[in-house]
């Protein structure tokens, strides 16, 4: 990826996540979703989830999901050298789950994450929250709460860096 430019700095991102927490609370109330647990997808999703987890004051520990072994292109891409253990220290069975990722593009990560969640148990519901929603969907997966939908060119790439100082950066993919 060439020329990386900062699209949003830490404070702006935290403000965005606070706004998402507000919208999420309203949505949970509207849909009578009680006692939710929260799961973030490694790595960027986990950072966003951590802030939401604090802001919403959720009692259960934050769940973390590494979807590496659930990817539909696993045998082509192989093991990510930075694969982390998934850790979900609460019972998924019958729970309302808030699933958090940083960027929703193709939808394949979310599909993999949902497959993994179901290997822990059958949740009552899953609410999808993403910091960024962008074009490029390849599967019929839509978010319930988003932070921002920035206009991006097809060859542009957006990524969250962190974890202490969050930053959203846009670059152009090399061809």
């Amino acid at each position: 990826m060439s020329e990386l430019r900062t699209f949003m700095n830490h404070n702006a991102i935290i403000d965005l996540i606070d706004g998402m927490a507000h919208v999420l609370c309203s949505r949970l109330a509207d849909h009578h979703i009680e006692n939710p647990a929260i799961i973030g997808i490694h790595t960027g999703g986990a950072w966003v989830a951590k802030h939401l987890h604090n802001t919403l004051g959720i009692q259960d520990p934050l769940g973390l999901l590494d979807i590496n072994f659930y990817r539909d292109d696993f045998t082509r891409i192989g093991v990510n050298p930075e694969v982390k253990p998934s850790s979900i220290d609460f019972d998924i069975e019958g729970r309302n789950i808030i699933l958090v990722d940083d960027v929703l593009q193709t939808g394949r990560t979310i599909r993999a994450a949902m497959n993994e969640i179901f290997d822990y148990g059958r949740p009552a519901s899953i609410t999808l929250v993403t910091l960024i929603e962008r074009s490029g969907r390849q599967l019929p997966i839509q978010p319930d709460v988003i932070g921002l939908r920035p206009p991006l060119q097809e060859d542009e790439h957006i990524a969250l860096s962190g974890p202490e100082e969050l930053s959203l950066n846009i670059g152009r993919k090399d061809n």
Binding site: D66, N68, F69, Y70, R71, D73, F74, T75, R76, I77, G78, V79, P81, E82, V83, K84, P85, S86, S87, Q105, T106, R108, T109, A112, N115, E116, F118, D119, Y120, G121
Partner: protein, 327 residues
């Protein structure tokens, strides 16, 4: 990069293709195996203990030498990766009818198996099969003669890391029949690659290889001296079935000299752990009070063995394509 290309175990990108020996693998790769195993070690806590990573792939256990435990853990590891598993016990199968090893290999390849897990009494057997395997087929060495048993060594490294964290300050004693032990050879290579402070081998001179010092270890013939201040004690099985000479006076005398008891363990560090690759001869290598005692991590080794074998299998079964990967 040139040296990587010469290592049959690695592909053009320096990734693991076969896993035949620890020799020639750098610390980063061994650490990646341990990190990947860490992700799999969490699976037993879940209701569904499988991941879909190798769904639709076929893995063949090719065992020319009996070993129920090793074969079972490889089989379970493959199944937890959602692969399909074929088991061939060759000692009771085709080769006894006159088929050559390579003909057996070609036949199983024709069944579209993409991985062979090979156990053989001849040193170098897995390497030979890897050299002749079709492109896209990976080979894992599950023990060859006196040469290597790299997945056992890596599960031992995983167990050590789980208990001790950093390898750097550790002193490790490997006690017993090092001469006949492929496990010990792989452990010594792995421990030195991962950078421990000291590896010791402890045993009677008849059971230590004459070239032991060349392996980068300190040699001890007295158990008490060998165990002093160590962090990890690895007991080896007395390979009775491999002994073809009068290397030992008797099992009783061996236990008197080299058997691990609670009393003898006292010279090791207070938090030293005791390991054994199994199967264990109680009252020969180790007293039951130690095997079942608080410092023993022997059963954890077995559980971790599945996670480590999953890591090695999943890493070998990848074919890198740098063009893809966007999700």
């Amino acid at each position: 990069m040139a040296s990587r290309h010469q290592n049959i175990q690695l592909n053009d990108q320096g990734q693991l293709r076969h896993f035949l020996t620890i020799e020639g693998l750098h610390r980063g790769l061994l650490t990646q195996i341990l990190d990947t195993a860490e992700a799999f070690a969490a699976l037993p806590g879940r209701p569904i203990k499988k991941v879909p990573a190798l769904r639709g792939r076929i893995i063949t256990n090719l065992f020319f030498e009996n070993s129920t435990r090793t074969r079972t853990t490889f089989e379970l590891a493959a199944k937890r990766l959602s692969a399909d598993v074929l088991n061939f016990n060759i000692s009771t199968s085709a080769t006894s009818k006159g088929e050559t090893l390579l003909d057996t290999l070609r036949n199983i390849e024709a069944m579209h198996s993409e991985m062979f897990v090979v156990r053989h009494s001849q040193s170098g057997a897995a390497h030979f099969i890897a050299q002749h395997a079709a492109p896209g087929v990976s080979v894992i060495n599950a023990g060859d003669g006196r040469h290597a048993h790299p997945t056992q060594a890596m599960l031992d490294m995983f167990t050590i890391r789980k208990h001790k964290g950093d390898f750097t300050p550790l002193r490790v004693a490997i006690v017993g029949d090092v001469l006949h032990s492929r496990v010990a050879r792989s452990q010594i290579l792995a421990l030195n690659t991962l950078g421990v402070t000291e590896v010791r081998v402890v045993g009677p001179s008849t059971l230590l290889p004459t070239e032991a010092r060349c392996l980068g270890v300190h040699v001890f013939h007295d158990l008490d001296e060998g165990l002093r201040d160590v962090d990890v004690v690895i007991m080896l099985r007395l390979q009775k079935e491999r002994m073809d000479g009068a290397l030992l006076p008797s099992e009783d005398e061996y236990f008197q000299l080299y058997g691990l008891t609670s009393e003898r363990l006292e010279v090791a560090k207070d938090d030293a752990i005791v390991m054994h690759p199994g199967p264990m001869n109680r009252g020969v290598e180790m007293a039951s009070e130690v095997a079942d005692g608080p410092r023993s991590v022997i059963l954890q080794q077995v559980s971790y063995g599945i996670a480590v074998r999953m890591a090695v299998m999943s890493m070998c079964m990848q074919t890198r394509d740098d063009a893809g990967g966007e999700m």
